[in-house]
């Protein structure tokens, strides 16, 4: 059981790390602002979600788990809103 739980954590966290890496490569390699934002937010939100998922079975308390999920939810919310604002600012600058 413990082995299964550890295996789940390892797989989920590694997958999360992979998405973060992919998002960062996208940020550096994609041609324009919108695609970069796309790579960054999509991949990073998924990556963070996977890491949180991987950590959940390892938290001792329910409150700890709720805090972890809240972290993910807040990150989702912030990145969605901020990338929206950033994209609009970028367009305003490019097409005056």
């Amino acid at each position: 059981m413990t082995l299964l739980r550890d295996l789940f954590s390892i797989v989920a966290i590694c997958a999360g790390g992979f998405f973060f890496l992919a998002g960062t490569v996208g940020l550096l390699r994609f041609p324009d602002m919108l695609t970069r934002l796309h790579a960054l937010t999509k991949a990073d939100n998924l990556g963070l979600g996977l890491i949180v998922l991987g950590l959940l079975p390892r938290v001792g308390s329910v409150l700890g788990g709720v805090k972890l999920v809240a972290v993910w939810a807040l990150a989702l919310l912030a990145s969605a809103c901020v990338s929206q604002v950033a994209a609009r600012m970028g367009r305003l600058r490019d097409e005056p």
């Binding site: 807040l74 969605a80 809103c81 901020v82 929206q84 604002v85």
Partner: protein
């Protein structure tokens, strides 16, 4: 494994610091500095300083980064010509800096083993403070005088920032750049209630766990600035009595409780053992408000004449 992580963190920090100092583009330098602040936050966790990690994340990378980016945006309009320093000066500076770094490194590696520490004294004196977190006990009890003076530093810094305003602007509000974007409005409506809860929790929990008035106050300041940015809240006029009351409330209560210590516990800034914790909470409550308001206004900058706001 963990040494590998520490090596990576240290190498990244040095690289980012080098970029901040030497990088050609100013904006990239600021971005590198913000990343440096975030990494430093992780390093604090690595060296077992969780309270510091929270402060660093809030202030070092966060508010300082925002402040510098805002400054960069305003300075872009001015001539940003960066002249290079002369080669002679650069060589001298390099030698001097290298010398200091090498001497420091040598001293750090030869400090006494086992390291001197105040942990035993701290643990022996923790009970009378009514707190479980020795960092909070240091700030609020053993070295409360430092903390009180630091609050005055904050007040003076804000007064100093206001004092560079043009004469005509006195009494008016700081400039607020408003961005009425739908998504931002939504964020500014949804997040502040959550942020206020988190901020107050950060202070409340600091009695026994990492956290504190400064970390909590920073979160409140961020929430306020977010609402201002979205056009949902106004910055106050610097002449406002309410504003000034909010700014001095924290240090004033701190000072009053400190003076009450003469009567209650026989010393300035001492708390009677039975009510130490309630008294510290009494100080911290207005302190979150004062810190949050001062930080937000320090980032907002000096007041501007009415027409320019």
């Amino acid at each position: 494994m963990s040494l590998g992580l520490d090596l990576l963190l240290a190498a990244l920090m040095l690289g980012l610091a080098g970029w901040t100092v030497l990088g050609r583009d100013m904006f990239a330098a600021i971005a590198a500095f913000i990343a440096y602040g975030l990494l430093l936050g992780i390093v604090w966790v690595r060296v077992g300083a969780l309270d510091v990690a929270l402060t660093e994340a809030a202030v070092g990378g966060g508010v300082t980064g925002g402040l510098l980016i805002a400054a960069w945006a305003r300075l872009r309009a001015t001539a940003m010509v960066e002249r290079k320093a002369g080669a002679g000066l650069a060589v001298l500076a390099a030698l001097a800096s290298l010398g200091v770094a090498v001497l420091l490194a040598a001293v750090v590696l030869h400090l006494p083993q086992p390291a001197p520490t105040l942990v035993p004294e701290a643990m022996a004196n923790l009970a009378p403070t009514g707190l479980g977190n020795p960092v909070s006990a240091t700030l609020m009890a053993w070295r409360a005088l430092d903390t009180l003076l630091e609050k005055l530093v904050l007040l003076l810094a804000l007064l100093g920032i206001w004092s560079v305003a043009p004469d005509a602007a006195w009494g008016a509000r700081p400039a607020a750049s408003v961005d009425r974007d739908g998504a931002l409005t939504f964020l500014a409506q949804f997040l502040p209630p959550v942020g206020v809860v988190v901020g107050i929790y950060t202070v409340w929990t600091s009695a026994d766990a990492p956290g504190g008035a400064f970390q909590g106050g920073t979160i409140l300041a961020a929430m306020w600035l977010l609402a201002v940015r979205a056009g949902l809240a106004d910055l106050p006029r610097v002449a406002s009595r309410w504003l000034r009351l909010a700014l001095v409330a924290g240090p004033a209560v701190f000072l009053a409780v400190g003076l009450a210590g003469f009567v209650l516990a026989g010393h300035f800034l001492a708390y009677p053992e039975a009510v130490a914790k309630p008294l510290i909470v009494l100080i911290e409550a207005p302190m979150i408000l004062s810190i949050g308001v001062s930080l937000a206004l320090m980032v907002a900058g000096p007041p501007v004449p009415k027409g320019d706001a």
